[in-house]
C-alpha cells in the first residue's frame, strides 16, 4: 500500500471532502495563503480559492462562533485551531454554542462543524501550548472527540467527522504530522473510519494497553519491548474515538487479558483514562487479576525544559516499567 505522511493524509481528507460537498469550508488562522502553520492545508487555497479556504484573524471565539452560526444554515465549516491549546479563548463558543445549542433548542438545530488541530505536548513550548483537552471536551454531552494515531486513521476519521451531523473535535498531534504510514489509495474507494470504533493495533494475551493519539505509538513500542525482553504478550487497543467510545473493544480485550494499563497523555485527574478505568471496573471487575494502572503525563503544568519534557509525558520506557510492576 502507498504511504503518506499524517499531515498529507489529513490534507487528502480535506481535499476529498471539499470536492464532495460544496458546503465544506476550511477556516482558520494561516490555513490559506500561508498553507497552514503545520502545513496540513498545504495547497488547498491554491486549488479551491478564497471561498472554500479562508484565512481568519487571530480571533478564535469570533471565527469558531461564526462557523457555528453558519453551520445552522447548512454550511459545514472545518475550523483549524492552530493549537487545541487555544480552546480556552473560544470555550464559550465550543461548549455552549456548539455543544449545547441542539439540546436547548429541543432538537430543532444541529451543528455540523469540525474543529481540528494539534493537541499534544512534547514540543518544548511550555504549558500554554501543550494542553491535551480531549477528555475535557468529551465530558460535554453534545460534543464528539477523536484522536487519530496513524495517517490512515487520520484520513478516515477526518472524513467521517466532516460528514457527521454533530460537532466533532479532531485532536491531531504535531509530533505525528511527520510520521509515515500506509493509507489506502482513493482509487480503491472511499476510506472512512467511523467515530466510535476502536482498533486493535497489536494483538496480545497477557495485558491490554489502551491508548489514543500519539500514546498508541508509545504503547506499541512498549509492547515490542515487553515481547522481546520480558516474554509478555501485550495487546494494544487504539481508541481512535473518545466520544463516542468503543466500550466493547475495551472490555473484550480486558476480559481476554485480565490486566490493563491505560496510556494517556492527559493529566491524570479526569483524563480520558479516568473514564476508561471507571468503565473497566464496572464492566470487567471479575476479570481483573490486578488493579487498572495508568501512565499519564506527570501531574503538573507542562514543563518547557527539552531535557526532561519527554519524561513528563507517557513514553515506552514508562509503560514498560508500569507493566512490569503488574506481572
Amino acid at each position: 500500500m502507498r504511504e503518506l505522511l499524517y499531515r498529507h493524509a489529513l490534507c487528502e481528507a480535506l481535499d476529498e471532502e471539499l470536492a464532495r460537498d460544496e458546503n465544506v469550508v476550511i477556516m482558520g488562522e494561516e490555513v490559506a495563503q500561508y498553507n497552514g502553520a503545520y502545513k496540513v492545508t498545504e495547497g488547498l487555497w491554491d486549488k479551491w480559492g478564497n471561498k472554500r479556504v479562508v484565512d481568519t484573524p487571530i480571533s478564535e471565539a469570533g471565527f469558531i462562533g461564526m462557523g457555528v452560526g453558519a453551520s445552522m444554515l447548512g454550511v459545514r465549516p472545518v475550523m483549524e485551531l492552530m493549537f487545541w491549546s487555544f480552546h480556552s479563548v473560544a470555550f464559550d463558543q465550543l461548549v455552549n454554542n456548539a455543544g449545547c445549542m441542539r439540546y436547548m433548542a429541543g432538537g430543532l438545530i444541529n451543528v455540523p462543524i469540525v474543529v481540528r488541530g494539534p493537541a499534544n505536548g512534547g514540543t518544548n513550548v511550555g504549558a500554554t501550548h501543550s494542553h491535551c483537552p480531549e477528555g475535557l471536551f468529551a465530558a460535554f454531552p453534545g460534543l464528539k472527540v477523536c484522536a487519530p494515531a496513524t495517517p490512515a486513521d487520520a484520513k478516515g476519521l477526518m472524513k467521517a467527522a466532516i460528514r457527521d451531523n454533530d460537532p466533532v473535535f479532531v485532536m491531531e498531534n504535531t509530533k505525528l504530522y511527520g510520521t509515515l504510514g500506509p493509507v489506502p489509495d482513493p482509487a480503491e474507494g472511499e476510506h472512512l473510519v467511523p467515530l466510535g470504533r476502536a482498533d486493535i493495533k497489536r494483538e496480545g494475551s497477557d495485558i491490554t494497553l489502551i491508548a489514543h493519539g500519539r500514546s498508541v505509538l508509545h504503547a506499541l513500542e512498549a509492547a515490542g519491548t515487553l515481547a522481546r525482553d520480558h516474554s509478555i504478550s501485550a495487546e494494544v487497543v487504539d481508541l481512535r474515538s473518545i466520544r463516542p467510545l468503543d466500550q466493547d473493544a475495551i472490555i473484550d480485550s480486558v476480559v481476554k487479558t485480565n490486566r490493563a494499563v491505560l496510556v494517556d497523555e492527559s493529566k491524570p485527574f479526569n483524563g480520558v483514562s479516568s473514564q476508561i478505568a471507571a468503565l473497566i471496573q464496572e464492566h470487567a471487575f471479575d476479570h481483573l487479576d490486578a488493579p487498572v494502572k495508568r501512565v499519564c503525563s506527570i501531574d503538573a503544568p507542562s514543563i518547557y525544559s527539552p531535557h526532561i519534557e519527554d519524561e513528563q509525558l507517557p513514553n515506552a520506557r514508562r509503560v514498560v516499567e508500569q507493566v512490569l510492576t503488574m506481572a
Partner: protein, 362 residues
C-alpha cells in the same frame, strides 16, 4: 449618576413618511400595536406565574422595550434571520412564535418550543428564522455573524439581525465579531438594545465611550446609527437602512436603540429599584412608553381609537390566559427524554448514531 432619561436626545424628525413607513397600511400599524401589546401582556402574566412558582430559573422581562423587537422584526423578509440574548420573549413573539409554545417552555413542559429543555433564555424557532435565545452575555454575537456568513456563502439575498444588550458590548467575543463582520463584509446588523443598565450597573459605570455606544463601530470601519426606541417609525426607518446596506452591499452595521426596561435585570434582581430611582422608572412609563406613544400616534392618525386599543389589550390578555392554561395542562418531559436531542445522529438512529457509546450513565 446621571439620569439617562434626562439625557435622551429627543428626535425632532418625523419618520412616518420615510420610505419604509410610507407604504404602511392602517392594518399594518394596528398589527404593530397588537404585537407590542401581546408581548407586554405575555410578560406581565408570565411574571404572575413566576411569582406563583410555576416558572423556574430566571425570567428576564422585555417590558418597556417592545418597540425594538416589533419594529425591527417587522422589516424581515424570507431570507432575513434573527438571533438575540436571554431577554428573548419579545423577539420570539414578534417573529410569530405562539404564546402557547413560549409559555409552555417557561413552565418546563414537553409542549414548549424547546420541549422544556431550554427555558426562558433559550427559545428557538428555526422555521421562523429565529435562532435563539442565548444565555451567555455576548455569546450570540459570533453566531449572528455566522448567520450572515451562511447567507452570503449561499448567495441568499438576506441579512442577520443580531441583538445584544448594552452590557454585552464589553465582551471580547463581540469585538471579534465586529472586526470579522467588517473585514469579511458580512450582511449582519448588530443591534444594541440600550436599556441603560447592564444588570445593576449603569451605562456610565460600565462602558467607556465618547458620545454613544454604537460609535465604537468606527474602530472597525463600520456604519452605525443611534435610534430613539420609543418611536416605532424611527426604529423601522433607520433599521431598514442598515438591513438594506447588509443585503445589497454586504456591509454590516452597528445600531444602538435607546430603550428602557421597567423591571429588573431579571425577576430575581432584588435591587431593581435601588440602582435607579422610582421617579426615573415612573418618568419613562409616563413620557416614554413605546406602546402608549404608538397608541397616541395611531389615534392622532385616525387609524385606531382608544376603545380599539383597549380591545386589543383585552384580546392579548385572553390569549395569554389561554396560553397559561395550555402550559398548565401540558405534560412535563419524561426522564427518558433527557437523553434525546443531544446528538443529531443518535436521534436520527443513523449508522453513526449507533456506532460506539454516546452516553455514560452506567
Amino acid at each position: 449618576m446621571q439620569d439617562p432619561s434626562a439625557e435622551r436626545p429627543f428626535t425632532a424628525m418625523d419618520f412616518s413618511s420615510s420610505s419604509v413607513n410610507r407604504g404602511l397600511t392602517a392594518q399594518d400599524k394596528i398589527d404593530f400595536y397588537r404585537s407590542m401589546v401581546r408581548i407586554r401582556r405575555f410578560e406581565h402574566l408570565a411574571l404572575g406565574q413566576y411569582q406563583k412558582n410555576r416558572i423556574g430559573g430566571f425570567l428576564h422581562l422585555y417590558i418597556g422595550q417592545e418597540s425594538v423587537a416589533v419594529g425591527t422584526v417587522s422589516l424581515m423578509g424570507d431570507h432575513d434571520h434573527v438571533i438575540t440574548a436571554y431577554r428573548d420573549h419579545g423577539h420570539a413573539l414578534a417573529v410569530g412564535m405562539s404564546m402557547e409554545e413560549c409559555m409552555a417552555e417557561l413552565f418546563g413542559k414537553a409542549t414548549g418550543c424547546s420541549k422544556g429543555k431550554g427555558g426562558s433564555m433559550h427559545f428557538f424557532a428555526p422555521d421562523k428564522n429565529f435562532w435563539g435565545g442565548h444565555g451567555i452575555v455576548g455569546g450570540q454575537t459570533p453566531l449572528g455573524l455566522g448567520l450572515g456568513y451562511g447567507l452570503k456563502y449561499k448567495g441568499l439575498p438576506g441579512c442577520a439581525l443580531c441583538f445584544l444588550g448594552d452590557g454585552a458590548i464589553n465582551q471580547g467575543a463581540f469585538h471579534e465579531a465586529l472586526n470579522l463582520a467588517s473585514l469579511f463584509e458580512i450582511p449582519v446588523v448588530y443591534i444594541i438594545e440600550n436599556n441603560g443598565y447592564s444588570m445593576g450597573t449603569s451605562q456610565m459605570r460600565s462602558s467607556a465611550y465618547r458620545d454613544c455606544l454604537a460609535q465604537r463601530a468606527e474602530a472597525y470601519d463600520m456604519a452605525w446609527d443611534l435610534i430613539n426606541g420609543e418611536d416605532l417609525y424611527e426604529v423601522r426607518a433607520k433599521t431598514h437602512i442598515a438591513m438594506e446596506r447588509a443585503r445589497k452591499e454586504h456591509r454590516p452595521s452597528l445600531l444602538e436603540i435607546q430603550t428602557y426596561r421597567y423591571y429588573g435585570h431579571s425577576v430575581a434582581d432584588a435591587n431593581a429599584n435601588k440602582y435607579r430611582t422610582p421617579e426615573e422608572i415612573e418618568r419613562y412609563k409616563t413620557y416614554h412608553d413605546p406602546i402608549r406613544l404608538w397608541e397616541r400616534r395611531l389615534i392622532e392618525e385616525g387609524v385606531m381609537t382608544a376603545e380599539d386599543a383597549r380591545a386589543h389589550e383585552k384580546e392579548a390578555t385572553g390569549e395569554t390566559a389561554a396560553a397559561i392554561k395550555f402550559a398548565e395542562n401540558s405534560p412535563a418531559p419524561t426522564v427518558e427524554e433527557i437523553l434525546q436531542d443531544v446528538y443529531c445522529e443518535v436521534d436520527e438512529d443513523s449508522e453513526a448514531g449507533n456506532t460506539g457509546r454516546h452516553f455514560f450513565n452506567d
